[in-house]
């Protein structure tokens, strides 16, 4: 029989971030390999043999704005494609700024921005084909923008006006567009990760060619449905890309609480024999490169891939949140991976297809475009003003056909 009394008493470990408000931001513990130095294995590599990719950071653009290394070489995007990508990111950022402002003016109840994370959703979408389906969280509106979903539709939903495509039923940023490969966002975290796997399984069962992409945040990987998704994806080799956006924070909780003792979130995938890559989420080209690698695996029926995007949530969690209460305000500036828009801009300038002037001009154009669209949307209505979806809509779509008890309630409500 062991004698526990011979040892000191136990104590509980509660992980803490390196710094709290008042402290000096310090990311020196984040090991960042130089761009271009991480190898690019073939897409059918044995997951055990590419374990290292789950513990490093795949990066393409170096400080000089050059695209370097094997991941850069495998890219087949033209400068025009990249200019379009830049425009997507700029659009998302400006849209976010406008909507944040609109929320302060009480034109909408609630908003969530992407500041600093634009490259991930804007970039990933480029690897998808029509018919593919994203199962996004609330921080991937770039998927919609890159897929050409009209900003005006997004705004109508944000403003909960009469043209809201969700007919007033959903939260502002919980968009849905089947046509644009964007599954209806759930307010419940992680539930859709396994749904994405089911969707991919359905495509495989049907002998189709569509693939899906699951999205989750660092904090939400702790949810149990994350496990369900990995189990099913691993067992049935579902054609799905399992994306984890590690933006360092889950509301006020730093990523160490969800990650615990594992080195990275990508490591989770390895426990299931799923090839797992870790990538610089602020490097648009790196995002394109890994997205291409992972979607090719899925399309070639090689099964799931996990991608951890290393990034930083530069803004508050939502308009209900003030991050200065739990992290130093300067932390965002100290983040070593830079700004995704600036980095792509520099690359394009380096390529000789872009300039500061043209950038400023594009910014002005986009702002004008968004402002015009916003005017039109606001003319229809905003949360407390103008025209809204009819309350009759409240009773529709609960079922395909309204059952008698609901019809009775609708009458009782006066409709």
């Amino acid at each position: 029989m062991p004698d526990p009394d011979a040892l000191p008493p136990l104590s509980l470990t509660v992980p803490e971030p390196e710094v709290r408000p008042g402290g000096q931001p310090d990311f020196s513990h984040v090991a960042i390999p130089r761009a271009g130095t991480v190898r690019r294995p073939p897409v059918d590599a044995d997951p055990e043999e590419i374990r290292d990719l789950a513990f490093t950071i795949i990066r393409v653009m170096n400080r000089e704005g050059e695209a370097v290394g094997p991941w850069a070489e495998a890219l087949d995007f033209t400068p025009d494609d990249l200019l379009e990508g830049l425009r997507h990111m700029m659009t998302l950022r400006i849209y976010d700024a406008r909507m944040l402002n609109a929320q302060r003016q009480q034109k909408t109840s609630f908003y969530m921005q992407h500041l600093g994370e634009e490259a991930i959703s804007c970039g990933f979408q480029r690897a998808l084909a029509p018919g593919d389906m994203n199962f996004p969280t609330y921080r991937q509106a770039g998927l919609l923008i890159a897929a050409g979903y009209p900003l005006s539709a997004m705004m109508n939903q944000v403003f909960s006006n009469a043209e809201d495509p969700m007919r007033g039923r959903q939260l502002p940023v919980c968009y849905s567009s089947r046509e644009h490969g964007f599954f209806t966002i759930s307010g419940n975290l992680a539930t859709q990760y396994i749904q994405a796997v089911g969707w991919a399984m359905a495509s495989a069962i049907s002998g189709d060619r569509k693939i899906s992409a699951a999205w989750i945040g660092d904090g939400s990987t702790a949810e149990s449905d994350f496990h369900a998704a990995l189990v099913f994806a691993s067992t049935y080799k579902a054609p799905v890309v399992l994306n984890v956006v590690n933006n360092q924070w889950a509301i006020s909780t730093f990523q160490g609480i969800a990650r615990g003792g594992s080195g990275t979130f990508a490591a989770r995938g390895l426990g299931f024999g799923i090839p797992s890559l870790r990538v610089d989420g602020n490097d648009y080209l790196a995002v394109l490169a890994v997205a291409k690698w992972a979607t090719e695996r899925a399309r070639r029926n090689l099964g799931p891939t996990m991608i951890e995007y290393v990034t930083y949530r530069a803004g508050g969690h939502s308009t209900s949140d003030d991050p200065s209460a739990y992290r130093p305000a300067e932390e965002s500036n100290a983040w070593p991976l830079g700004d995704p828009i600036l980095r792509l801009k520099n690359h394009l300038i380096r390529l000789g297809v872009w300039s500061d002037d043209r950038h400023a001009q594009a910014e002005a154009e986009i702002l004008a475009e968004i402002t015009a669209a916003q005017k039109r949307a606001e003319a229809i209505g905003t949360l407390h003003h103008g025209q809204h979806p009819s309350p009759v809509d409240m009773f529709e779509d609960v079922y395909a056909e309204m059952p008698p008890h609901l019809l009775k309630q609708r009458h009782e409500a006066g409709f």
Partner: protein, 338 residues
């Protein structure tokens, strides 16, 4: 017509549906090669291949969650939860996702999925093989909830459920799988082949969702019930000498309020009967509706007979189960109220 057990009728429904529509896929724990712990899916993998009928990892949230994704894709998943007692890990997927998909996407994404599960007690299954969680589904708008009481209905209702464009919770009273059971556990077991409703039409037919059926005409009181308790109610009516009308609700939501109200308005007395625990059970909703709709016809308070508000105990099964003696006594008391 073929005589079938309820297991065979369910299997037959799945077979008919899979044969008619390649979008129908069947999966769950042990449902593939082995054919399910109650054998409801036996032979389907051999017939339709292992991508149409397959085993899953033991993760109920995963089963339903994957099913939702498939349904949204355009398939028609019919998933099995091994026992209703194990549905809770999937509850979030059912409540927050399946039930609301159509609504929150304004119809862009829908969830035509059936979640089958054996329910109810009577097999000495103890706390974790005996529960009747129907009220946890009837409170969730966006779902339909079905409980068959015999093989013929089971097949017809399951075919309706599979055809339905919305998620359906399909609760199979496991004590009825092999024969009708009226609560007399100490009598010899009867088989479906001796029962009229064990006659199951071949091929495709449906029993519509949302339609109850009167199993016994009566004048003195109405018993509202479903599943196993239909047979207990019939026994209690016979044994109590009370001329009770027995209504088999079949679908709990949407409820066939017309049939219910017509009967109670006629008899003026109502007994609500289920196996699930009493408090906040589906019987509460029935009582609330009936008193509202039939108030002026009621000659006595509506009585509820149900499982006691304890976990389903193992050894005490027959003290727990609301059997014919308890129901008969309640019936007699109900008609005695002046």
């Amino acid at each position: 017509m073929a005589r079938m057990t309820m297991i065979e009728a369910i299997r037959d429904a799945l077979d008919v549906a899979m044969g008619a529509d390649p979008r129908v896929v069947v999966f769950g724990e042990d449902v593939g090669y082995f054919g399910g712990v109650f054998r409801c899916t036996a032979g389907l993998q051999a017939k339709y291949g292992k991508t149409r009928c397959f085993d899953t990892p033991i993760n109920e949230s995963g089963i339903v969650g994957a099913g939702i994704g498939m349904a949204a894709y355009g398939l028609k998943p019919v998933v099995e939860i091994q026992f209703a007692d194990y549905v809770y890990p999937a509850y979030d997927q059912i409540v927050s996702e399946a039930a609301r998909l159509r609504y929150r996407s304004a119809g862009q994404f829908t969830c035509p999925m059936v979640v089958r599960m054996p329910t109810g007690g009577g097999i000495f299954g103890g706390q974790t093989h005996s529960q009747s969680p129907e009220a946890l589904f009837t409170h969730v708008t966006g779902l339909k909830t079905v409980v068959p009481s015999n093989p013929r209905d089971a097949k017809g209702l399951l075919l309706s459920a599979i055809a339905d464009p919305d998620p359906v919770i399909f609760l199979e009273p496991k004590r009825l799988y092999n024969g009708p059971f009226d609560g007399h556990h100490d009598r010899p077991v009867t088989a479906w082949k001796t029962h009229e409703l064990g006659e199951v039409p071949e091929g495709h037919y449906t029993v519509p969702l949302g339609k109850a059926v009167v199993r016994r005409q009566g004048q003195a009181a109405t018993i509202l019930t479903y599943g196993t308790m239909v047979h207990v109610a019939l026994a209690a009516a016979a044994e109590s000498g009370v001329d009770a009308e027995v209504i088999d609700l079949r679908t709990l939501l949407p409820l066939d309020m017309e049939t219910v109200a017509a009967s109670v308005s006629k008899t003026g007395r109502c007994l609500v009967l289920h196996e699930a625990t009493l408090t906040s059970g589906y019987g509460a909703e029935l009582a609330a509706l009936v008193q509202a709709e039939c108030f002026w016809h009621l000659e006595a308070p509506i009585r509820r007979v149900a499982g006691w508000d304890t976990p389903y105990p193992h050894t005490h099964e027959w003290s727990y189960f609301p059997g014919p003696a308890r129901v008969a006594e309640a019936l007699r008391q109900l008609v005695e109220v002046a």
